[in-house]
Structures are given as structure tokens and as C-alpha cells.
Amino acid sequence: MIAASSQVSSFPILSALVVLPLLGSIIVALLGKSRPEWVKLGALISSVTTGALSLWLLAAFKSGEAGFQFVSQHLWISQWGISWHLGVDGISLFLVVLTGILFPLVIVGIDPHHNETSYFAWMLLLQAGVMGSFLALDLFLFFVMFEIVLVPMYFLIGGWGYDQRVYAATKFFLYTMAGSAFMLVGIIATVALAQRDLGVITFDVVKIAEGASFSTNAARWLFISFAIAFAVKVPLFPFHTWLPDAHTQAPTGGSVILAGVLLKMGTYGFLRFGVYLFPQAAIWARPVLFTLAVIGIIYGAIAATMQRDLKRLVAYSSVAHLGFIVLGTFALSSQAVTGAVIQMVNHGVSTGALFLLVGMIYERRHTREIAELRGIQHVAPIFAGVFTVVMLSSVGLPGLNGFVGEFLILIGSFESARWWTIVATVGVVLAALYLLWAYQRVFHGEPDEANSSFKELNAKEGLLMAVFVAIILFTGIYPKPMLERIEPSVNSFIEHVEGRTK
């Protein structure tokens, strides 16, 4: 994370990644009235182009470099030292790519059933916000993006969700907003305090992290203010209660995005802002965060085991998985943080895929009750096969992507957080327990009358899932290209932290 090695690209690809979905959203909203039949096409073109751009970014990204690449910076609000400052490094790269890929898949794969226009418009707006959050290198810009994401997600849950959707959407909105209320005060205070060291008012996160030094006490308070926002977003136990509701009530597309990329804004925020700006305070707060992470891992697993609703089960499994990511993030060793970054992407892929599959089950059976489902393996073997692969990836089976991340996290955390790591390992076993048990109940046995007509994956669904399975297998078997791009940034990040805490 050294700003000096940043390069300036001729085509503002990062700005395009944010602006394109935004434009798409506006165009879709305008098309809705005059040409409703073009709406889906418009959404598709916009999201596929964004996806292609993100893949191009992946290809053009120079591996082995630590600094921010493709940096684009324009003054936005000069009086407050705020600029439109975007950049990508190894830590954010794959999250950006994931955001680029996941949205077109969701838009292609999931039918909103009603009010297509507004659904797609909100979806694209959401994509713009998420992209912006992962790319922003300006605290103000990050806050704007972090906060603006709430609005489309709120409408997606509230407008296209299930029975308790209004309750879930409101809870989601207020919880997250409450968290970021503290962060806003924290951001402003950070900037005000940094101004004394830097001499100028700036919201540039790199400048502040490299140039400003905060008193121990101030840094702790500031870290806490950031940590509250991210802990709610992740969500970390005990701030997680909005998540099961939001996930269960959200439409399938909303759940996929929520699990896939939205929660990562919290874990990513911890790394990029919390730890990067206040390394000493982060180490001071570590024991608490480790403990909460491990509680989350165990609690999420136990709660998942007891769920009757398949979607709620997956939601609680998210709480457990994100506990691992937080554990890795704060272990602050090169391996653990690399593992955490990989696991952010992995969790997005595998949990996103799980939500998609659960959504498909609901489409076919109009229920998600585990007790209502039985013997699906017999009537839909391919579906069951795909489910198995995705599930095992979530469990962390060697050879699949989940293993790479979890393994790195556990190895890397053992040094600095031994006992917590040992307890967390139990979570790996529990994950196998609740997922396999659920699998057994849903897919094994003899199908009863209602389940015997369960339809196999159709071609569209098959292609959709093929993308996920391909990513799962590729990352699991050959993680090297990913590691090559992530590690340099992580190493320089760790150096920064160590340099600050000596």
C-alpha cells in the first residue's frame, strides 16, 4: 500500500466501473416507461460490460506490485479536501472482479417476477455503490458509497422480498446506518486530527495513513468508531441480528449480492481503513475482536445447525464464515491476511452460489423448510451434484476454494492468536456437520409426492452454476495466480502495520 508506485492509466477504467452501472441504472429507469421490453436488455448490457471491464482490469493488473494501480484522482470538494480518488491493489482487486461478475449473473439468472424496471435500476445502482466502496481511497467518497448502498438494498429487500420484508428491510437499513453514524464522526475527527500533522485538510486515506500520527488514546477512539460501522456490516457477533432477517426475507438476487459482496464491505473496511489507519489501536483491540470473531464462528455454526429454513441456515453459516475472515484480518500476519482476502472472495462465490441454489429450490417447491424437502438427489441428480460441490467448497474441502482461504487463515493466525485459532478450528468441523446434515435431509431418502416432480437444472441455470463451479474448482486447485496478485499488497500492508507498531 505505498502510494508512490501508483500508476496513472490513460483510460479511467476504475471510474468507468463505478459510473457505468450508475448510467445503466438511470437508463433502465428511463426506459421503463416507454420501452419496458428493453429494460432487461439494458440492465444486461450495462452489467455485462461492467463485468467485462472488471475482467480486463484483472488481466491488466500487474501482479507482483504492491501499490495502487489505475489510480484516478480528481478534486471534488476542494474546500474540504475531498477528491474522487479511486485505486485498486491486491486487496481490493478480486473483490472488484467478484462484484463485476456476480451482478450480471444475478441479473441474467434470477427473474424478479414483478416490477422489472425498478428491480434492475436498483440492482445497477447497488453495483455502482459497491464498486465505489471497494475502489474509494478517499474517506469521504468511501463513506458516501458505503452509505448509499443502503438505499437500493433497502428497496430490493422491501420490494421483492418475502412475507416479513418490510421489517427486515427497515432493520437492515437502521442497523447499518446506526453503525455508520459513528463512523462519520470518526472520519471527520480523523481528518481534523490528521490536519495538524499534514498541514492540509485531506480525506485521502493513503496520505493520512502514511503521514499522520495519532495519540494512542485518540487512535483508539477513532478505531472504535470505524470498528462499530464495520462490525455491523460484517456482521460480527453481537451485531449480527439483522443478517438472518435480511437474508431470509430478501429476494434470491438480493441475498446473493448481500452475502457475495455487501458483507465484504465490512471486512474490507476493517483492513483498508480500520487497521491501515490505526494499526496500534487495532492491535490493542485485537483480543476483543478475536473473541467476537470466534464466538461468531461457533455461534453461527450452532445456530445454523438448528435452523429449519434452508435459507436461514445459509445466513447463519455466513456469520460463521465471516468470523474466520475477521480472525485472519486481525491476526495481522502475511498468511492470515492473504487468507482473509481470499476467503472474502471465496465466501462470496460459495455462499452466493448456495443462495442461488436455495432460490432455485424455492422456485420449484415454494418452500424452504428442510422438513418439506426430501430425496431430491433421486429426481435431480445434477442439481444435487452442483449443490454438493458448492456445499463442500463452503465446508472447506481440500481441492476446493474454501480450503485455501481457511487454511491460510488458520495457519497464519496460530502464531498471534493461538487459543482463538484452536477454538475456531472446531468451527470447521461444525460447518461440515450442519451442511452435511442439511444435505442429507434435503437430498437423501426417498422423494415423497411433492418432491418427486422436482425439476432438474435447466440450461440457463446450468450455465449459471457452471461459472460458479468453475471458479470454485480453479481457485481450489490452482490458487497461485490469485496469491501472486494479493500477496505483494498484503506484505506491504503488514510492513506498514509493523512499522507503525514497533
Partner: protein
């Protein structure tokens, strides 16, 4: 008997008070010509009020340039000020008058009772408001306050068919009378201690001699009473009781007017009095303002949750906004900090942005609720609005999100400014309280949004949005978004807002 011919009035720079004169001329023309002629064609009354405010805005802009070039100064023998702070307030007030007049015209035409008086009252109220915010003298301020208040009492009761409106007017009148009495008594006590009512001279008097303890008590009581008077006017807790009732009972465009012009005037005047006249006692009133601000924020946002009438909800929301603005005043009370001026700038920006925002919000309510009966204004009236009319729903959503302080709207710029000023002087606790209350208040806005987007409408009948209302609401929403995306536009203008006129 004194020889009146020996009386020499102060020299008056007529151009410098031209916005006031324009408003006065507009009011007189409406009243005089309006009463002598037959009924004017539809919308003409309103459009002449609009024209008046446009002229006043244009004159203020010209004066703005003069102040930028020549600096701030005092007018009319030192009783009025001409500085950016006052001019920004004047522009905000006139802009609000413009928007409200447009909305009122449609509102009254629907009932077939369009008449010139109401617009004339808007203009006289605006005169009072402009005098208030630019006064450099407590007595002149009181004159402005009374001009504004008397017009508002009449406006609140202007719907003669509705008993609620009558009740609102009477309630407002009685409590407003109380407030004025408090204020005036405070002025008298302050005068007793210092021998002057000029704001700048008050400061000189208070800093240039050592006041004996007994006098200081009287002075503090005086300052306290002035603050109570203001607190009634801007509805700070615990003096906010009248607000929901009056806001609910008054015709909706008038509510919009009270929430914008009334608030702007009283808050800017409050700010000026305390920052200019009593900075030497800021340790004393700073604490009081802190408590008032926190109480107002909590009451405004928490009590709003249990309301079912949209006008009451927005009344409480306006109370919590006043609490937010006081956060800026509290920041300005930290005189030893180099950043104390930020508070002043933040308040100026906040009131200017809030004025347009609140008129826009009430504008939509006016259009949707049709009349001011309580059924028409219940939250149910908004059910399914966005499904029937996506554009109107979207516009209202923008206003509500802006009130909640979401980024990319003017509401966020306003909130960011006051929070920044509070943090800059180290008032972290108040900043945190304010932000937490903003989240609580957001629940109320979400409830309205839920009704609009996620509930099914009882009727499929569309609400018609008349032309002038369309223009007013459109202007307000464009302003809200424009400032949200490009805050530099207003921040450029307000960078030297803290340089108040002192000579």
C-alpha cells in the same frame, strides 16, 4: 416638548436595503391594487409574489458581490448589518417565499379561494424575517420578530373553514406572545446591565468593564430569557409543544412557510445575537445550548416515531433539524478554538439548504393530501403513492433521504458541515448524539417510504400535480440533488460567511 425639526435621522444607503424595499413594495402592491381591482386572473397573485421574491433575490445577489468586494458593513445608523451571513439568509428566505407562493396558488385555486392577502402576508413575514437576520440591535430584532410572528399567526389561521386552522392560529398566537414577552424582558434586563441594545456595543460593554457580580446575574438572566424567547420560536425542547399542533392545523403551504422562513429567520438571528453580542459569556450559554440541542434532537427524533399524521411527523422532524443546527451554534461557542467560525458557516449552510428541502417536502404533502383535514394527512394517504406515480414517489423519496442525511443530497452536506464544526472544536459527545438521533429520525422517513413504495394503495386514483406546484417541487428537488453532488457550489459562496459585520 422636543422640537421635532431638530431630529436628524440616520443616513440611509437605500441600495443596501433594497431587498427589503422590494419585498415591501411587492406586499403593498398586492394589498393595495389587489383590493381595489376585480379578481385577478388565475395565478397572478402568486406570480406577483414570485416576481417580488425574484427581484429581492437578484438585489441580494448584487449586494453579495458588493460585500465580497468592499467588505461587510453596518447600515441605518448601525441598526442593520450587511454581510454575507445576512444575505445568505435573505436569499434562502426569498427562495422559500418563491416556492411556497407557487404551491399556495395551486392549493388555494383548488378550493376556489385564491386571494391576494395570503401572498401579501408571505411578503410581510419575509420582511420581518429579513430584518431579524440582519439586525444589529435587539430592539430592531424584536420589530422584525413581531412583524414575522404577526404575519405567521394570521397565516396559520388563514383557512377560515377549518376549525383546526383557527385553533392553530390561536395557539400559536398565545405561545408566540409568551415567547415575545420572554424575549423582550431579556432585552430589558440586558439593557439594564449594559446600557445598550446594539449587538456590537453589547459585546464592547461586556468586555470593556468588569461587571460586578450582581449585575452579572441579571445579565445571565437576561441572556437566558432571550434564549428562551428564541427557543420558543425555533421550537427547541422543552419549548416545542406548540409546534406539532400548529404545523398540523395550519394549511399545508403555510406549514411549509413556517418551517422554512420562520426557522431560518429565528435561527440565524439567534446565531447572530449570541455570537456577536455575548461571546464573552459563551462559557455560560454554550453549556445551555449543548443541553438544549441534545434535548431537542432526542425529543424531535424519538417522538416522531409514534406519529401517524404526516404533518406531525414532519413537525417533529423539523424540531430535530433545529437541534442539529444548534450543534453548529454550540461549536461556535468554543471561542478559544480557531475553528469556532466553522460553526457559523455550518449553520448558514444548513438553514439555506434546509429551507428549500422542507418546502419541497411539504410541497409534496400539499399535493398529495389535498386539504388539511387530519384524515387527508394521515400516513395512509401516502400508501402506494410510488406505485401509482413513480416520479412523484421518487421525488418524495429524494426529499426524505435528504432529510435523513443520506449522501449525495443537500441534507448530507448540511449535516456533514455541522458535525464537522462540532468535531473541529472537540464536541465529540454532541456530534455522536446528533448522529444517533439522525438514525432514529431516519426510521420516520423510512416509514413514509414504506407507505409509498411497499404498501398497496386504497385507490388507484392518481394525484394530480398542478403546473406551479410541479415547478416548485421540481426546483426544490433539483437544488437538493445539485448541492448533494456538487457541494462546492455552496461552500465556495460561504467560505467567508463567518466574517460578520462589525463596523
Amino acid at each position: 416638548m422636543n422640537d421635532l425639526s431638530a431630529f436628524a435621522g440616520p443616513s440611509i444607503e437605500w441600495l443596501s436595503i433594497s431587498p427589503l424595499l422590494a419585498l415591501l413594495a411587492g406586499a403593498l402592491i398586492l394589498l393595495l391594487v389587489g383590493s381595489l381591482t376585480n379578481e385577478w386572473p388565475k395565478h397572478w397573485y402568486s406570480l406577483s409574489a414570485v416576481a417580488t421574491s425574484v427581484v429581492a433575490i437578484a438585489l441580494s445577489v448584487v449586494l453579495w458581490r458588493d460585500v465580497s468586494n468592499d467588505g461587510a458593513k453596518l447600515l441605518v445608523g448601525g441598526s442593520l448589518t450587511l454581510d454575507h451571513f445576512a444575505l445568505l439568509g435573505s436569499i434562502a428566505i426569498c427562495f422559500a417565499v418563491l416556492l411556497v407562493s407557487l404551491i399556495t396558488s395551486d392549493y388555494l385555486s383548488r378550493g376556489g379561494s385564491d386571494a391576494p392577502e395570503i401572498y401579501a402576508l408571505y411578503l410581510t413575514a419575509a420582511i420581518g424575517a429579513v430584518v431579524m437576520i440582519s439586525s444589529n440591535d435587539l430592539v430592531v430584532l424584536f420589530l422584525g420578530l413581531e412583524t414575522l410572528s404577526l404575519s405567521l399567526y394570521l397565516l396559520a389561521a388563514s383557512n377560515r373553514q377549518e376549525t383546526a386552522s383557527q385553533e392553530a392560529g390561536l395557539k400559536y398566537f398565545i405561545l408566540g406572545g409568551f415567547a415575545s414577552a420572554f424575549f423582550l424582558y431579556g432585552v430589558a434586563l440586558t439593557y439594564g446591565v449594559t446600557g445598550t441594545t446594539r449587538l456590537i456595543d453589547l459585546n464592547t460593554a461586556l468586555t470593556s468593564y468588569i461587571s460586578v457580580p450582581r449585575n452579572d446575574v441579571i445579565l445571565l438572566i437576561g441572556i437566558g430569557m432571550i434564549l428562551v424567547g428564541f427557543a420558543f420560536k425555533v421550537s427547541l425542547a422543552p419549548f416545542q409543544m406548540w409546534t406539532p399542533d400548529v404545523y398540523q392545523g395550519a394549511p399545508t403551504p403555510v406549514t411549509a412557510f413556517m418551517a422554512s422562513v420562520g426557522k431560518v429567520a429565528a435561527l440565524v438571528a439567534l446565531m447572530r445575537v449570541f455570537v456577536v453580542a455575548f461571546p464573552s459569556r459563551s462559557d455560560d450559554w454554550g453549556v445551555v445550548v449543548l443541553v438544549l440541542s441534545a434535548a431537542t434532537l432526542v425529543v424531535g427524533s424519538v417522538v416522531a416515531i409514534v406519529q401517524t399524521n404526516i404533518k406531525r411527523m414532519l413537525a417533529y422532524s423539523s424540531i430535530s433539524h433545529a437541534g442539529f443546527i444548534l450543534v453548529g451554534l454550540e461549536a461556535a461557542s468554543h471561542r478559544d478554538s480557531v475553528n469556532a467560525g466553522d460553526g457559523l458557516v455550518a449553520v448558514g449552510v444548513y438553514v439555506a439548504l434546509y429551507a428549500a428541502l422542507v418546502v419541497g417536502t411539504f410541497g409534496v404533502v400539499t399535493v398529495v393530501a389535498r386539504n388539511s383535514s387530519s384524515e387527508a394527512n394521515s400516513l395512509d394517504a401516502f400508501k402506494g403513492l410510488a406505485k401509482n406515480q413513480p416520479i412523484l414517489g421518487l421525488v418524495m423519496t429524494v426529499f426524505l433521504l435528504a432529510q435523513a442525511g443520506m449522501p449525495l443530497t443537500s441534507g448530507f452536506v448540511a449535516k456533514f458541515g455541522v458535525i464537522q464544526s462540532a468535531v473541529a472544536v472537540g464536541s465529540y459527545q454532541l456530534a455522536v448524539i446528533a448522529m444517533v438521533c439522525a438514525v432514529i429520525a431516519a426510521f420516520v422517513y423510512l416509514r413514509i417510504m414504506v407507505s409509498m413504495w411497499l404498501s398497496d394503495s386504497a385507490t388507484t386514483e392518481k394525484v394530480s400535480v398542478p403546473m406551479l406546484s410541479r415547478v416548485a417541487i421540481g426546483l426544490a428537488v433539483a437544488f437538493t440533488l445539485l448541492i448533494g453532488f456538487l457541494p462546492s457550489l455552496i461552500l465556495d459562496l460561504t467560505s467567508n460567511l463567518a466574517e460578520l459585520a462589525t463596523k
